[in-house]
Structure formats: C-alpha cells, structure tokens
C-alpha cells in the first residue's frame, strides 16, 4: 500500500525531466535521493526507461513502411502468375465486341496507372534523381563512375545501386554522357521513346519533352539506338551510331533516322566551345540562346540573313555579342540575359 502511494504521489514531471536529461543539479539530487529511498522506485525508473525504449524503437521501425515493401517483394515472387493473367485478358478482348473495347481499355489503363503509381511510390527507396533547373550540372558522377553533364531543365533518374547485369538510367531533357567502359554491364539510357545502349563511350542525348525529336550524337565509341514502342509500320527499329553520327527519332512519324552530324556546336552547352562556319545570324542567335540561357531580339528581320564565320572558345556571352556587333556594324543593347541587336543606320 505504501509503495503504491509512493508512485502515485510521485512527481512524473520531474521523473520525465530526469529521463530526458532536462534536470538542473538541484532537481537531479532530488530524483537521486528518491531513487536511493527504495528498490521499488529504482524499478519504476527502469520500467519507464524500458517503455520509452520501445516507443523509440516503434518510431524508428515506422520509417520502414512494410506495406509498400511487401508489394515490392510480392511482385518479385509472383512474376509467372501475373503473366498468365495478362494472356487471358488478350484472349478475352478478341472475343468481345467492339463497343466493349472502350471499357476494357479503361480497366487496363486504370490497372496500368495503379501499377505505375505503386511503382512510383517505391521509387524514393531505390532511385535517385539529379535535376538541373537554371544551371547546367557539370560532371555528375554516377554510382558506376560514369560522368554526366546535365543541361538546363533536365532530369536524370537512376537507381541508387545498379543491377548486376545492366546500368539503366532515364533522362528527360539534354545530357552528355561519358560512360565508363564495362563490357559485362551495358549502359542503357531511356529517353522519350528511345533507348540508347552503349558499352563505354561518350555522346550527347537531347530529349526535351516539348521538342518533336529525340537526338543522339556520338563523340567516341559505338552506340545502339532503339525505338521503344514497336508494332508500328515504320521499318527502322534500331540504328548503330559511330563517332560524328547522329540518330534522330521523330515523335510524329516514329521514324528513326541516322545521319552525319553537321552541327559542330552539339555539346557547346557543356563546353562553351562554339564554331560557326558561314552560319546565318538567326541560327547563331538560336545557338547562343541555348548555350548561354539568354534571349536575343533582332530588330530588323533582314539582319537574320547575315552570315557569320567565327570560333569562340569559352568566351563570355558579352564578348561574343560584341564581336557580332563589330563584325556587322550593329547596335547592341540590353543586359541580364535580355539583348537586342539592331541596325546602326536606321537609328541614326
């Protein structure tokens, strides 16, 4: 009876402070003398500590969400069953009439999005992204030692740890890859509807969602470019590219074409090394806008036809624009990424 009273009357506030290391020296003495008073008191402290330990463990365990993890594990232990399920579905579709197709498609889409969403939910655990917004991300090193440079508004998604037999990444936007050679572990890049497969080489991939093409230009080595969605009537499914060659996938026609790259400035966004060989000013401006992330207005349309031949290696954009101005005797105005070129004569 006495012991019960002892605990009930005890100052929980003080005991909590003691356990949480929040007591001052006077309070500490007070608790310690209480502890010395009886075994029961010491037991009570120990039990409370044990309980809080469990609580702490609960908080830590909760960081690992076993429901999501189970879905992941479950999908890996039943690959065969899900395949059979899909086959049955296709057979059914053949039997059903046309008006029912829409409903089935909707179900399939819903199923697809559920799978997609649950896949996405698992991604934080296993995947990592690197994004470039207004600044180029230079020489980002991937887990295998390959080096990526990301252009503005681009994102690269890759697993925290590559699989045993393949190194697979996904890019939106533009990037230059310098892939570390490893013949046993091909490097695969998913870019829009294109898959790029390499063993060890360097090349540029440009796949901004808003543009109508996906372009791959090879600097060194050999690269295989494959169109992902098969089943279309277009012939070329894949092309092999050698240094200086370019593969282009046109989103509209699904055509995959191989050509010789004639643009010396394909990776200038990374190198800031610009070569213009008798290039119309309109194209020069397009190129400068992309490389330096600026906006250049031309006042008189006829200026666009002026032809420039020049080589700028790692020059600031002001310098380049001043060379253009002096070469063609123009006027240059503006600052902070907004420039205007105009004819000198008309303004006088």
């Amino acid at each position: 009876m006495e012991e019960m009273k002892n605990i009930e009357n005890f100052d929980w506030e003080l005991l909590a402070k003691y356990i949480n290391n929040e007591v001052n020296s006077r309070e500490k003495l007070e608790v310690e003398s209480w502890l010395n008073a009886s075994v029961k008191n010491r037991e009570e402290l120990e039990k409370t500590r044990q309980m809080l330990k469990k609580v702490d463990v609960l908080f830590k365990n909760k960081k690992f969400v076993s429901d999501v993890a189970w879905k992941n594990v479950h999908s890996k232990i039943h690959p065969v069953q899900s395949e059979i399920f899909q086959h049955k579905k296709t057979r059914k579709e053949v039997i059903l009439r046309f008006y029912k197709y829409a409903a089935i498609l909707l179900v399939a889409l819903l199923l697809g999005s559920v799978v997609y969403i649950s896949f996405r939910n698992q991604m934080p655990a296993l995947f990592q992204t690197v994004s470039a917004k207004n600044q180029v991300v230079n020489d980002y090193i991937l887990p295998d030692g390959s080096v990526v440079t990301l252009n503005r508004n681009s994102t690269l998604l890759f697993p925290k740890h590559f699989k045993k037999d393949v190194r697979e990444v996904t890019i939106t936007g533009e990037a230059f890859f310098d892939v570390k050679p490893n013949a046993n572990k091909p490097f695969i890049i998913n870019a829009g509807d294109v898959q790029v497969k390499v063993l060890g080489t360097s090349f540029n991939v440009c796949a901004y969602p808003e543009t109508e093409t996906v372009e791959v230009v090879v600097k060194t080595g050999k690269v295989q470019v494959t169109r992902k969605n098969t089943g279309t009537e277009v012939e070329n499914r894949q092309v092999f590219l050698l240094p200086g060659e370019k593969g282009t996938l046109f989103s509209e026609s699904h055509a995959l074409e191989k050509s010789v790259n004639t643009d010396p400035n394909i990776i200038s966004w990374k190198t800031h090394d610009l070569v213009f060989n008798e290039i119309p000013l309109s194209e020069v401006i397009q190129c400068l806008e992309k490389v330096y992330n600026i906006n250049i207005q031309v006042k008189e349309p006829e200026l666009n036809d002026l032809v420039l031949t020049a080589h700028f290696d790692k020059k600031p954009v002001d310098f380049i624009l001043n060379v253009v101005r002096l070469t063609f005797n123009l006027q240059l105005s503006g600052e902070n990424e907004q420039f205007t070129l105009s004819s000198r004569k008309k303004n006088q």
């Binding site: 100052d11 929980w12 506030e13 003080l14 005991l15 909590a16 402070k17 356990i19 949480n20 929040e22 039990k47 409370t48 044990q50 309980m51 809080l52 330990k53 469990k54 609580v55 702490d56 463990v57 609960l58 908080f59 830590k60 365990n61 909760k62 960081k63 690992f64 076993s66 429901d67 993890a69 189970w70 992941n72 594990v73 479950h74 890996k76 232990i77 934080p124 655990a125 296993l126 925290k160 740890h161």
Partner: protein
C-alpha cells in the same frame, strides 16, 4: 509472436502459403531494416537488403533449415548481407572488425525486437493522448528535440512542455504497464 508461433508460420511458408509469408514479413520488416541500418548507416540500402532477403527466402523456402529460431536465422542472414555489402563497397566502418570477429551469431543484447502486437498497443496509447500532449511527446521522442526547442517550435512556455511531458509519460506508463513488464521477463528468459 513467440518462437513456436514463428516455427508454425515457417512450416506453412515451406508449404507455399503466401499469407503466412506475408505475416512473417510484416512482423520482421521494420525490425530487420532498423537492425541493418544500424550496421550500414543507410536506410534505403537497408530496405533493399531486407527485401532481397525475403525474396530469396521465398525462392529457397524448401531448402532452408532453421536450426535455432526463425528470428535468429533472419537476423543472422541480414547481418551477413550487411557484411557482404560493406565488403563489396569497401566501406570503412569502425565496428566492421567487431562484427566479423564476433563468433556468436546471437542478436546483440541491446537489440530490441518490437512485436507487431506491442507496436499496435503503443501506437494506440500514443494516439489516445490529447493532441497537444501527443505533439509534444512526438517532438521529444521521435525528433529528439530538447524541451526548450519544443517550447520555441510550438510557441509555448517551457513550463507547459515540462508538465505535458510528465503527463504523457505517466499515461503511457499506465496504459502499457502489463505489456512492458511481460516483455522484460520474456527478454530475460530469451537471453539465457
């Protein structure tokens, strides 16, 4: 879940019972991840290791022989996977030596296994606290904030934090009284 429960569950798993496998998975997942993360200091990799272990466990379920207990088997497997991971990645961790030379494959004495049932009970008890008290308690235990930091964050007085923490611990202690003491006994028994 005690040892005989585990063994019964494991018997079902070897017979191909997915539901039993799922039950085992949920009972161990958080605990094993926390254990692995304690060794390799990487939460995400810890989850990958534990998930891969369970996939392999299912694939080889008919060949696996559990000698002591399912729990020991799982902890030992996770520990080995962590050691492999560290070796493979050449990560230098001070206590790696200790892990390797450690002959006993028993779980470390301070390694706490939180059973699903008790986890639920604790969760309910915390949920039953008044909102403000619960918030203060979580900031203290989960986020590890000092009293003054909690007071600042919630814009309340230090005195309020002290009083609420005292009440929170008192309530939990009362609600969990029977469960915790039972578990201490069980742990002592298990260690011997």
């Amino acid at each position: 879940m005690n040892q005989s429960d585990d063994k019964a569950l494991f018997k079902k798993i070897t017979d191909g019972d997915v539901k039993a496998f799922e039950a085992l998975f949920h009972a161990y997942y958080g605990n094993l991840c926390r254990f692995a993360s304690g060794i390799i200091s990487d939460n995400e990799m810890a989850e990958e290791i534990v998930q891969n272990l369970f996939v392999k466990l299912w694939e080889k379920r008919t060949q696996i022989e559990v000698e002591t207990s399912v729990k020991n088997y799982l902890y030992r497997a996770v520990k080995n996977q962590c050691i492999n991971f560290i070796k493979h990645n050449n990560i230098k961790i001070d206590h790696l030596q200790n892990i390797q030379t450690e002959k006993a494959v028993q779980i470390q004495p301070d390694e706490i296994f939180l059973e699903l049932e008790l986890a639920k009970k604790i969760e309910q008890s915390i949920q039953s606290l008044p909102v403000k008290r619960r918030e203060i308690f979580i900031l203290s235990r989960e986020e590890g904030l000092k009293y003054t930091e909690i007071a600042q964050k919630l814009n309340i007085s230090l005195k309020t934090v002290e009083a609420q923490m005292g009440l929170a611990i008192k309530t939990l202690r009362e609600k969990l009284k029977n469960h915790i003491s039972f578990l201490i006994l069980f742990l002592c028994f298990h260690k011997n």
